[in-house]
Symmetry: C2
Amino acid sequence: MSAGISLDQSYPNLFTPEDQVFVRALEDDPVSIPPRHALTLRGEPLSHAAYLTSGFAGRFRADWTGRRQLLSLHIPGDFIDLPSFMLFRLDHDIDSFNAITCARLHHDRIAQMRVTMPHLYDCFWRISLMDSAIQRYWAFRVGRLVGRARIANFFAEIFARMFARKLCGTDGFTLPLTQADIGEACGMTPVHANRMLGELREEGTCTLENGRLVIHDLRLLASVGQFEWDYLYLPPQAEAELADLLGAGATRQRRRAPAPAPRT
Amino acid sequence: MSAGISLDQSYPNLFTPEDQVFVRALEDDPVSIPPRHALTLRGEPLSHAAYLTSGFAGRFRADWTGRRQLLSLHIPGDFIDLPSFMLFRLDHDIDSFNAITCARLHHDRIAQMRVTMPHLYDCFWRISLMDSAIQRYWAFRVGRLVGRARIANFFAEIFARMFARKLCGTDGFTLPLTQADIGEACGMTPVHANRMLGELREEGTCTLENGRLVIHDLRLLASVGQFEWDYLYLPPQAEAELADLLGAGATRQRRRAPAPAPRT
DNA sequence: CGCGGAGTTGAACGCATTCAAGTCTTGTGG
DNA sequence: CCACAAGACTTGAATGCGTTCAACTCCGCG
C-alpha cells in the first residue's frame, strides 16, 4: 500500500491548495484490487467515484463473440469512473491490469461540493472531459492508423501522460500489459500485435518487455505514431517539454487531403 | 430557418420546466452555417456552447497525410461543443454536413447557472458525459467490428438516437452523408464503404440513397451491427421501445471469449 | 454541352487474421 | 530439485478482408 499519487500531482495547476485539502478529507476507505480483476461491471449501479493511487486499469467493451476492445487505459492519478457520478451506471467494464489501489469519493460528497467548493466541483467536470478527449482520440487511432502506427501512437500517449505526471523519465516506463492486451487496445489480434512490436523493436523505436516499455528513440516513436498531444490538455509547461522531447509534431492542416495518400 | 428542436425534446426527463424556460432566455443569436462548412477549428478559443436546432454536423481529426476520421456525428438537438465550456478550446474540427442552424449559450451564462440553476448546471455536465459515452463506443465500433458490421452498427446508432428524439419513424431517416463520409466515419476507404453498403442493400438490410437511409429490416440491421444501446443513456421508455424494435440484443457476457471466435 | 461530384465495378496487391506448432518463463506440487 | 502445467511470446504458411488504382456510369448544374 504505497502512499500513492495525489490529485494535485495528477492535475497540476488545476486544484487550489484548499481544493486539495478539502478533497482529501472527503475520501472514503481506499480499496485494493488484485491483478486482472474486475473493478466494476457494465450497468452496475455505483455509489462512489474512484481514482487510482497506484497501478493500471482499463475500460473494456466486448462484442457478441466475447472479444474485447480496450476503450481507455488508466494510469496512477486517473479518475476511473467519474462519469458514474452523473450517469449512475457505466456502459463498460473496468478491470485492473496489475495490483491497484484507489481512493474513493462518495457521490453524495461530490454533490455537496457544488455549493461548498464550486471551483473544485468544476475541476471534476473538467477532469471528466479531459478523460473523454483521450477516449475520443482512441477512435482516431484505431480508425485511421495502420498497425505499427497504432501501437506507436498508443505508447506515445501513455508516455506523454506518465511523463506529464512525473511518473517516468524519457527512457521508458512501467506498462503491465501483455501483447494480447496491446492487441485489445489497438484493435488487432495478439499475433499481429506481436509482429508489429517486433518491427518497432527491429527499427530501434521501443521494446516491450517484462511489464515495462523501454523507449529507444522517443522522436521516432512519436513520428511513427503520428502523435500529437493537444487533446491531453496538459499544462503549458508540460506541453513545452513534450514538444521539446517529441519534436514539433505535424504542422496543422485542414480539409481533405489534396492527394489522398495511402493509409499510414 | 425552421423553429427547430428544443432542448427539452432532445433530452426528455432531464430538464425541469423551469430549466427549459431559463435556458431559452439565455440563448444568444442563433447562427446558420452552410453545408460542408467548418463550424470550429481545432485549438481555436471558444466563447459559446452551441446546440443544433437543425441539420447534421460532425467532429473530425486528421492524420498527417490529411485523411480524416469522423469522431462523432451530431443530429438535431445535440450539443456540439459543450466541452469547450470547461476546456476553452477543442481538440478536433467540427464541420457541417448539410445546412445547419444552432442556438448558442455564452460560457459566462452557463457559469452563472451553477448558483442560480444548479440542477440545470448538472444537466449540462450530464449531457456532456452522455455525448462522451457515444464517442467512446465509436472506438469499440471501429476497433472490434468488421466492415459491414461497422456500418450497420453506425446506422443503428443514428437510428436509435433519431428515434429516441422522435425525429424519425422505423422506416428510415434523413442522413446527409456521402459514401466517402461513411468511410471516414467507419475507418475505411470510400470504395470499401461502397461495397459494404452494396452488401447491406443486397441482403435486405438498408439502402442509403439521396441523403436518406431507408431501413428495410431493423432487427437485421441491429444484429448485423451487433448493436446495443445501453451506452446512449436513453430514458426507460425509449429503451423499452428500442428493445421492442431491435430485438433483445445480446445477452451480457463477461471475460475473454472461451473460444476466440473469428472477428465478425 | 461539358464539367465535377458521387457512385460503381474489376483486378492486383498487401496488410492483417487464422491456424498451428513451437519456445521460453514462471509457478506449483511431487 | 525436478516435472509439469499454464501463460506469454514467437514464428511460418495459407487465407481473406480491405486498399489501391483505374476506368466507367450517372446525375445535376452552369
